[in-house]
Symmetry: C2
Subunit: 213 residues, 2 copies
Amino acid sequence: MQTPAPGKRRYEKNRQQILAAARAILLEEGLQAISMRNLAEKVDYSPAALYKYFSGKEEILENLRQEAWALMHESEPGLPPGLPLQEVLLRMARNYIDFATRYPQYYLLVMSPSDNIPGNFEEFLQDPNFMPLIQFTEEAVASGAIRIPQGYTPLHLALFFWFSVHAISTLKVTMMNNCQDAFETTSLEAIQMVMAAFIKETPASFQSKGKRP
Amino acid sequence: MQTPAPGKRRYEKNRQQILAAARAILLEEGLQAISMRNLAEKVDYSPAALYKYFSGKEEILENLRQEAWALMHESEPGLPPGLPLQEVLLRMARNYIDFATRYPQYYLLVMSPSDNIPGNFEEFLQDPNFMPLIQFTEEAVASGAIRIPQGYTPLHLALFFWFSVHAISTLKVTMMNNCQDAFETTSLEAIQMVMAAFIKETPASFQSKGKRP
DNA sequence: TCTGTAGAGTGAACAACGTTTACTAATATA
DNA sequence: TATATTAGTAAACGTTGTTCACTCTACAGA
């Protein structure tokens, strides 16, 4: 009985099938097209049957949200060692923004109101999606690659970075649909400009010891 | 006939009354509580009657959105002359964030998907809510109070500033409900840190000639 | 192998939503 | 005053998420 009973396996398979259909609707027709009836018809179930697999629509969306985070993190390219620090940061930003650009529906879903949101600053700082960035910044500061003004911490710089990337992605997805690359280009330049002000100008490479965000 | 006919005046009064009720629901019960039926009952109308005054729910929300922008801009305190530039910028940021904190429902409404959103970068740059910030930054750079690195423009700095303020406000409203001031304090420090890197350290005052954002 | 029970699956309904339609009643205009 | 406009309504339409009472199937224990 090391493998689950066949009933349980079928159950799990159906569950994944429902999630796959929901994912397909999200990517092809958009977030607002995900309705229980629409979804049920796509998997040849009655709407009520979905409630045998999920407690409700919100649980299905929550699963897709986790998928989105995983997809974004696994699409991170392996950065070649010896890359200048500002290039590393720039690529991190670009990767995040590219994800939002390529999968706007995924990004909209991730940013849509959920019940799973941290309620305070401490929880946010320990969010697995944000913590690596803080760690990365701290290492960079500790190594001397980034110089932080007196009275401030690596957290401040990480926050700024996160703010910028988050704002650019959101704006691109929600407002700048019909725009050329002008917005993204200019925005990334803005990030670059600010980062350059803190990065100690050494062409010497910097490589984080932790896994990158 | 210089004043509108009494029928038209009553019509306009009813319209404003409906908007007032919608505003009350927004502030007291939240954005998701605004429904045509809920609103109709509050103003002692049948739901269908609202369609004699508005083309639909979206038009009502659009009116509230404009209210929100107006309210935010009129709540801007008159800055005393002779204020250091970084203090001016900091207060501008604080004013924006304070508005989102005081009226989270208004802010959520403003940021909710609308049909009136600019579709490209050029329109965005001419948005009356963003243009003053660019103007302000340009004046500050022209006067020498802010130094921009070579190859960059005041627009880059304005974008960064807008990104930060926007991101902080959104995070405060959507995620950081139960948190103390730690998040806002740290975030404002982050803005301050970055701004300080560009502001030429002169205690000499700077006063914009244009109206402030 | 037979049987009883847990559970997969369903049709119908409920409550709420935005909106439309056909209609009445009140008002403004001529 | 007669007429045309328009404010206002009840009822319905087509959605939505969710629940309930009910089958029928598949698996477990005798």
